[in-house]
């Protein structure tokens, strides 16, 4: 009887290329040295998360962005003051009464391939919905930035950041909670 193959032998036999799975394309970003991953969800929590996203968008003026909020509280004037071009961002105010449309809106926006960056501000907890968003983000090769007040319990997001105030410099800086 043949002895079973080791994992390494199996990888060699099928021409496994680790870089295909490990190296994710990223949007470079001066405030986060490893960049924002494409085709994945990046979760951002903590006070200062919106300004962090604004700084990111300011550095990507050629990318088309959809910004979806469950209950619209964003002050767009502040984004423009922080250097985000107003024509770059399409806002969607889902409204609390239509919250079930949130998933449809985000999935359709990603599938249309019209946006390379999606920003979602919602506190939803549904892990299956999150998985569907992850798959759509991956196939659209877009970056989904998910703003929340607290990190989500599931491990679906590729990168989870929390913005914290540095006690020494008093500046807000991102802290990596997890990355895969």
């Amino acid at each position: 009887m043949k002895s079973p193959l080791t994992l390494q032998e199996l990888k060699e036999r099928f021409g496994y290329r680790s870089e295909l799975f490990e190296k994710r394309e990223r949007f470079s970003f001066s405030r986060w040295e490893t960049g924002i991953p494409k085709g994945a969800i990046t979760e951002i929590t903590g006070p200062g998360k919106t300004a962090f996203v604004a700084d990111f968008l300011k550095e990507r003026p050629d990318e088309r962005v959809i910004w979806i909020e469950e209950s619209f509280s964003l002050f767009p004037l502040a984004l423009e003051q922080r250097g985000v071009a107003p024509e770059q961002v399409l806002f969607v105010d889902i409204g609390r009464e239509n919250s079930r449309e949130l998933e449809w809106t985000l999935l359709q926006a990603l599938r249309s391939q019209a946006f390379s960056i999606a920003v979602l501000y919602s506190e939803f907890e549904d892990s299956r919905m999150l998985r569907r968003i992850q798959l759509a983000t991956e196939s659209a090769h877009a970056a989904t930035l998910w703003l929340r007040s607290t990190p989500h319990a599931s491990q679906t997001s590729a990168l989870s950041l929390r913005i914290e105030r540095d006690p020494v410099t008093d500046e807000r800086r991102p802290i990596r909670l997890r990355e895969r």
Binding site: A54, F75, P76, A78, L90, V92, S112, A114
Partner: protein, 423 residues
């Protein structure tokens, strides 16, 4: 003059639709007797004869028309070559002589002459033209002579320009045995109709801003609404089936879930109610901006159709001293306006929340913050010309939890409110 002729079978009824769609190739299009003519002589910089042939073939297959194509220097020869699929003018059978008399209408004036010619063993145009004029005049009279002149100088027949109809309307009758009542088969038929609509729009250099879809249902006794009508208003002009179909699918899907069709559909009709001129640019092979713009417009149209116009927008800065009135919603690309105002919070509350300062704390009904830093004030006065004299002193406060709040004090009442967060 160089003419592309499309000869159509006698049963074909879509001649005008084809002519309209052909306007995309050349502004000079004409309707003949079961034929469409396109003057391509001055378009040689846009396409070659081979490519226009191939493009016309694609157009015919999209419209579902079994037409035959030929190119020649005049109308009658082009359509005769198309009908007979002969290579040279001299080989055209004498049965095509009425076309030389007039390519625009059918006539039986030459029936006797054609029969006589065939009895004489003259079956082709080359042989007919070899006959002396005098003998034609003696045998067939003035009509024969006129036909002979037209055969010899066919380019003398002028092109009658075709005027496209101002209203674009397309319909399809559904076979009763088909029992069309579900969305997917309906979309299948709709795609065919929308294909025709988009070809006509493109031919006439227009884009649709508003469309009406009407369905005629089988009038069974239980049917309460036998002719449902759906109005489609697009935020951006639409011209392609690919962008229109998802809009129709979304709308009809949500409608049919709430109110399924009561009986099978007998007829589907689409009318274009409002149009705008399209730019009519050629496809750019070196970048995908047009496709990206089309898919962007498509998704915006779908989102506005589903969520409502007020929920999908760009934000445009408005000159106002009142912070909450500092922007407005728009769907057209907003104009960036540099604002001299101090940095504003990224989040703003629709209704400011009253807060109460107690020692070094601010508190609402539900929360309490310890203030570790406070900056301000920035004084903002209401728009007095609008009879708003409210004066506010704004402060930026940093709390021990790292939050950065934007509060104001109403100078008249002394009340304090939380209005924004530097998130």
């Amino acid at each position: 003059m160089r003419i592309l002729a499309i000869a159509l079978p006698p049963s074909e009824t879509q001649q005008e639709i084809l002519a309209e769609a052909c306007l995309r190739f050349s502004p000079l299009v004409s309707l003949g007797a079961q034929a469409v003519f396109v003057e391509i002589g001055r378009c040689h910089l846009l396409y070659s004869e081979d490519s226009i042939r191939a493009r016309t073939q694609v157009l015919l297959s999209r419209l579902g028309i079994a037409g035959r194509i030929a190119i020649a220097d005049d109308l009658a020869t082009a359509v005769s070559l198309a009908r007979t699929q002969k290579k040279h003018r001299d080989q055209i059978p004498v049965e095509c002589l009425p076309t030389y008399l007039s390519p625009y209408e059918t006539t039986d004036l030459l029936d006797e002459m054609i029969a006589s010619l065939k009895r004489l063993g003259i079956g082709e145009l080359g042989a007919f033209l070899a006959l002396p004029r005098r003998s034609i005049a003696a045998r067939f009279g003035k009509i024969g002579l006129f036909c002979r002149e037209n055969c010899e100088f066919p380019e003398r027949v002028p092109l009658r320009p075709f005027q496209a109809k101002s209203r674009i309307e397309e319909s399809e009758r559904i076979d009763e045995s088909y029992a069309l009542i579900e969305l997917e088969p309906l979309l299948f038929v709709l795609k065919k109709i929308l294909d025709r609509v988009s070809l006509r729009l493109r031919g006439t250099g227009k884009l649709a801003l508003r469309m009406k879809l009407s369905l005629s249902l089988t009038p069974h006794s239980h049917v309460t609404e036998p002719r449902p009508v759906f109005d489609f208003v697009f935020p951006f002009p639409q011209g392609s089936t690919n962008s229109l179909i998802p809009l129709f699918r979304d709308r009809l899907d949500s409608l049919f879930q709430r109110h399924p069709l009561e009986s099978p559909i007998q007829e589907i009709r689409i009318e274009v109610l409002e149009t705008v001129p399209s730019q009519g640019a050629q496809k750019n092979f070196f970048h995908r901006k047009e496709e990206e713009l089309e898919s962007y417009r498509g998704i915006v149209a779908r989102l506005t159709d589903r969520l409502g116009y007020s929920r999908v927008f760009h934000a445009e800065t408005v000159e106002s001293y009142i912070p909450e009135r500092g922007w407005k919603k728009t769907l057209s690309p907003p104009v960036p306006r540099p604002t001299p105002l101090p940095e504003r919070p990224t989040r703003i509350l629709k209704t400011p929340i009253p807060i109460h300062p107690i020692d070094e704390y601010f508190q609402t009904k539900h929360r309490r913050w310890k203030v570790i830093e406070m900056q301000g004030p920035e004084r903002i006065r209401g728009e007095w010309w609008m009879n708003e004299s409210e004066e506010r002193d704004y402060y930026r406060i940093i709390t021990d939890g790292g939050e950065d709040l934007w509060i104001y004090e109403n100078r008249e009442t002394g009340a304090t409110y939380l209005q924004g967060v530097y998130d």
